[in-house]
Structure formats: structure tokens, C-alpha cells
Amino acid sequence: MSIFAGGYAGKILYVNLTDGSIEKRPLERDFALKYVGGRGFSSRILWDELETKTDPLSPDNRLIIAAGPLNGTPTPSASRLVVAAKSPLTGILGDTNSGGYFSPELKYSGFDAIVLRGRSSSPVYLWVRDGKAELRPAKHLWGHKISETNHLLKEELGDEDIHICAMGPAGENLVRYACVMTDGEGAGGRCGMGAVMGSKNLKAVAVRGSQDVGIADPRRFKEAVDAYRQTLEGEVWTDVLRRLGTANLVEHRQKLGIWGAKNFQRATIEGWEKISGEAFRERFLVKVMGCMGCMVRCRRYSAIKEGPFAPTYAKGPEYDSINPLGAKPYITDPAIILRAHYLCDEYGIDEQTAGSSIAMAMELYERGILTKEQVDGVELVFGNGEALLHFIEKIAYRKGFGDLLAEGTKIMGERLQADYYAIHVKGLEVDASDPRSLPTRALTYAVSTRGSCHLRGFPYIDEFIKPEEAKAYFGTEAVSNLKSLEGKGKMVAWSENWVTIPNLMGVCIFAWNRSRSFPMLIRRGLELMNEIFVATTGLPMTKEQLYHCGERVYNVEKLFNVREGCRRESDYPPRRFFEEELPDGPGKGSKLKREEYDQLLDEYYEARGWDKKTGIPNPETLKVLGVP
């Protein structure tokens, strides 16, 4: 019997792949109250169980698959899954967040999370069903791409309704940024979780369950969910995302001139209309799709039905496919981008790092730093779509030049003495946008606890917050001034704690933080979210306490990285952003200024209660949060 009145399954599955032992441990109430779920569980467990300087590809690394308390309930878009480990790409904390149907099914199978350690002596997969788990041989699955792996597993287990988190050939070959794919659709893309699976000889995790996820107060739950849904119904973002998916951001990047095109040498793209959200919808969209319980439905299902790449069926593409596979290598053929995205999904490679690595190589080739011989005789120039497709496969199998590409831009930079052209923070490539004209975005990317990531914070607040709201929440009206840097460090820090919350709950941010109204960020994001949490679990939690859970988790992640050697020096954007001006677009002439950035970072550390010189959390800060 679960000690929880609802939400939680109450059990964490511990699997030792070395000796094959499997243990079910109860989820402690105190742990749930402090860390809530999802990224909270994974970050805390990684902090507790890993030693400093653990080799991420060694048996001692942990792979953690975590759901949140709301997964499995009819909470809107409670579909997200966290997969975490120490990253083989960055050497610091790594985690991914993906949608679909896996995390609800994990809850129905009776578990809140799975913690895997060790290394199996031969390929295996984990089969979890209704409270029971077993390791089964996977030699016959080894070598297969994602779709085929899923198909074979469903056939073997005799059930089409199982849900699968798998790695592809890239993971088997320990490509540093190999990803995990859930149900062949949702990528747990970044940080190389697939490589960790490969290093453990773990091909896949399959789950199936028929158990209830309890709801402590159904009447209160329904009221909260209905109120929550109403805030999404009127939301303009809901319509935009449904119509064009995340690819709607293509036009935004072009209008603001913040592309990182040609490996961050250009801020605008000629021919961008060919790869806009409208273009993809017009040419390839079969239908829109929604993750579990989602009313936004931003997923695309696309098909190429004519031309050299027909037939190709894939979920996507996302903006974060078009950016690294289009903008970065400067390719404006949408069929090539979609095909490249499909290949990344099938081989199990993070398209963000793949595109970034190939784009970096393109720049090095054009500058003569890489010779044609070194790149397997391929004319590796920007715009060469065939080269992109060619090297994606080579990366997956570590063949030829693909072997170096498979290391990611940081190691490529080190090996080729060309680290200036490696555009990453802490080893994770800059995604989303070029922040040279938007310093608060630069800060957000640079301080993120998994390396450069736009999802760890929410710096867009200053685009719509009103002066009186800014004064009330951040102590100064300047936060509502887009041009001012005053108060922005504080704003970013607040946004990071706040945006951690959906990652704990298992809820998708597109059904949570999309708004152009700051009061709505508080109403939906904190108040209603907390109301749903309390109605589901019956646990005592206020919205202030929930916010502090976000802060607590963020600090644990920072501690993990500090233990691995991160200091203030790691929290800086790449040199290129300080040394080169944007050459074109509305932001032409912009670049980051060192003194300004230092000021921002100082303010950020102060707001966080971290030491300004080292970036290390102060003991008082940790004491208040009850960490470690």
C-alpha cells in the first residue's frame, strides 16, 4: 500500500546491471516533499550516489529515468519524462526532458523512477510490468535502429501497447551525444544519455502497466484542472503552437536577427521562408499530434512523399531540428532537414550537437583548418545537404571523420586546436538563438546547470512584464525595460527556480509557461500548478514552498557541478560572442561586453546567494534550503 494518498506510485526501482539484482525501494515522504519528482529526484540521486570524477561511461555512473507526481493523471500535458546521468559529453550533470506516453506508463507500471547502475556483461533490456521487473537478453536487438528495435520488442513481448525508451546504434557506439528515444518519437536528446545506456549494455527499457495513479481529492482536482485548462484555451501561444509547432520560432529568429547560422557567423538566413513553420506545414505536415493529455498539440507528424527521400515518416521537425540541421550548416532545403532529423531519430543521435559539430567542421573546412583529406574527401562547405546526411550516418557508426565528429564540438576544438570555433558552454553546444544582442539570454545559457541550455531559465519576462509588476516582484521597474541590465540577474535567477517546477511535476512547459502576461506566469505556473499538486497527492505544499523546491533542486545541481570542478569561469558564454559582432540583421554590430556580463553575473550570484568569486553556493543559502 502506498503511503501517498495520490500522485506517487510510492516506489523506485533500483537495478544493478552488473549482478542483475533488482530492488524496489519505497519513496520516502520527506524526499517527495523536498524534491517533488522528475528532475528533482534525478539530480538529488546523482548527487547522493556518484563519486567525484566518476567516468560517465563507467559502470559507476547512474542512469535515472524519472516521472513526476502528476504523470498518469489527466493534468494537462503531464507527459514529460526525465532521463539523467553524469554526461559523457560535458562531464557534468546531464539530463533530458521528453514528451509522449512513457512517463505516464511508468507510473501505471507502479514506479516513480528507475535507477540503473553497473554494466551488464552482455546486451540486455529492462522489462517493467505492473510492479515487476526483469532483465532480458537483447543480443538480437543490438545493432538495430530505433523503429526496428521498437517493432521487435512489441513482437517479442506480444503487446503493441508497451512503451519503450531505447538507444540506437549511436548509443551502442558510444557517440558522446547519443540520445534516448521514447516510442521512436520523443527524443531525450542532449547530454549523451544514449551513450550511458550503451556503456551499460542496456539497449532499451520497456514499460507497461494497468495500475491506478491515485488522486487524493478528485473534486478539487477537477476544479483545478478545469481552471488550468481555461487559462490555456484563451492563450495565443496555444494557437501558434498548434498551427506551426515549435517551428513557429523560425520567423521570430529571422525577424529579430538572432540565428546562430553558419556556426554563429550569420544572424539572418537568406531563403529562410523555405524552412519556416508555414513551409513545413504546407509541404510535409500530415497532422498535428499531442502528447499524453495535451490540449496544445504542438507535435508534428510529417511525411516526405515525393523526391529522393520518399517515403520518410517522422514526428517533427521541431525548431530545434531546423536550427541545428538547417541554420547552423546553412541548409535551406526543408526535405534535407526533415530527412536529417529522421536519421538522427533512427540512429539515436542528438540532432542539436550533431548539427553543431558538422557546422563547426564546415567552418573549419572553409577556413582551411580542416583539409579535404581529413574529412573523408567530402566537400564539407556550408549549404552542402548531402554532406550533412552523409556525416550523420558516419557519426552513428564512428566511421572515418565521423569518429571525431562523434566527440562533440568541445573535444573537436581541443583536438584541432580550434576551440574558438566550438560554440558551447561547459561542453554543451549553444542552441536556441544567438544571444549577442540579448545579454540576459546569454546569461541564461551560460549558467544553466547542464551546459548551454535555453530551457533552464525564462529570460523573456522582460519582454512583457509591466513596470509595476517588475517593481513588485524584482524590486525595480528596470526589469521591465528591455534595454536595461539592472535587475536582470535577479530575474534570471528567479526564472530558473520557477521553471524547474514543471520538470519536477512531469508537466510540459508549453502548457505551463507560455504567456505574455506576468501575472499569468504566477497564476498558472505557481498557484494552479500547486493546487493540482495538492489535490492529486494530498501533501501539504504552498506555492512558496513549491518555488523553494525549484530553488533547492537547482542548488543541488550546482553543487554537483561544483564538485566536478565548475567555478565562475565555467559560467561564461563562448569567446566568439565577446569578440565578434553580429554581421547582419537588426542586431548588426552587437556583441557581449565583458564588463556588462560580469555585472550581470555578479547580480545573478548575489540573487542566488552564491559566492561572487567562485560561484559556489554559500553555506547559509544551503542551510536555508536544507541542502545537502
Partner: protein, 167 residues
Amino acid sequence: MERKIFFHPERCLACLSCMLACQMKSMGISEVRSLSGEQRPAPRMSITFDRGTPWIWVCQQCLSAPCVEACVSGSLRREDGGKKIFHNSENCVGCGSCVLVCPYGAFHYDEQEKRVVKCNLCLEEAVPPCVRACQTQALAYQEANSFAGEKKKKFAQDMRRDRAADR
């Protein structure tokens, strides 16, 4: 979720291979040629016809089985965490109460042994011999909701074929 025997009447040829396989199993015979014209044991499964459509009589493993309630000797028991109904014919006294209450004719009276017999799903086998013997896969050894799911899938496929013209 436990498996039991489901039936696809549209596939049934009424060849009675299932009945024969059941009897052979209870006689311990694996070769059909070993059978002669001798008397055979009461079958745990049989075929009936309803307006021209064949249907099988076999224990449905009811979750709230009336037979377990009615049994006076305790030879009918819930096993396996309550999910299967096991009839221990050794303890059966042949009172016939189960025969009266079962809606599915699952119980047959064995004249020689003076007790009833019922399908116990041949749990020592991976798949019951009757299901294996059926040449048209009219018998399915399946979980209830998996069986329903397949029917749903077939219906969805029919609907898709129907709408192919709209594509």
C-alpha cells in the same frame, strides 16, 4: 491480468479438434493414432450450436464465480491470487451444485469417476492443447482486455479502409 480461453465464432469450422485434444490430454495420449474406439473421458470443453453459429462451452474463469460459492466440498477454489478457478477433482463429491449454477456448461459429469470435471486451463502447458489444436485460431488464450483490444484494432482498420477515399 490473467489469460483464459476466448472464442472467434466466425473462424470456427466445428471440426471438434479442440474437444479431441482436451480428451487426449486427460487420457495422457499425445498420438491420435493411439486412440481406438474405446470410451473417452468427459470433455472439459465442448461445442454447441446457436442458430447455426458454433459456440464453445468451457469454463470462463468468472471473477465472481457462482460455482465457487455453490461448491460443498471445497474442491473448487480460487487460485493464483484469486484469478483462476481450480477444480480439484480428487476432492469432488459429485453433488452437481456447480453444474446447476454455471451459465456456461463448464462442468461435465464423469459417469465412471462419479464426479465432475472442468477445464483448469492446463496450466502446466505454455498454451492449452485445445488452443494449439485449433487449425483456424478460433480459440485464443488471451487476457480479456487484450482480446478486446484486438477487436478494436480490427474495427479501426476497417474504418481506415473505409475512409481511404478521403485521403
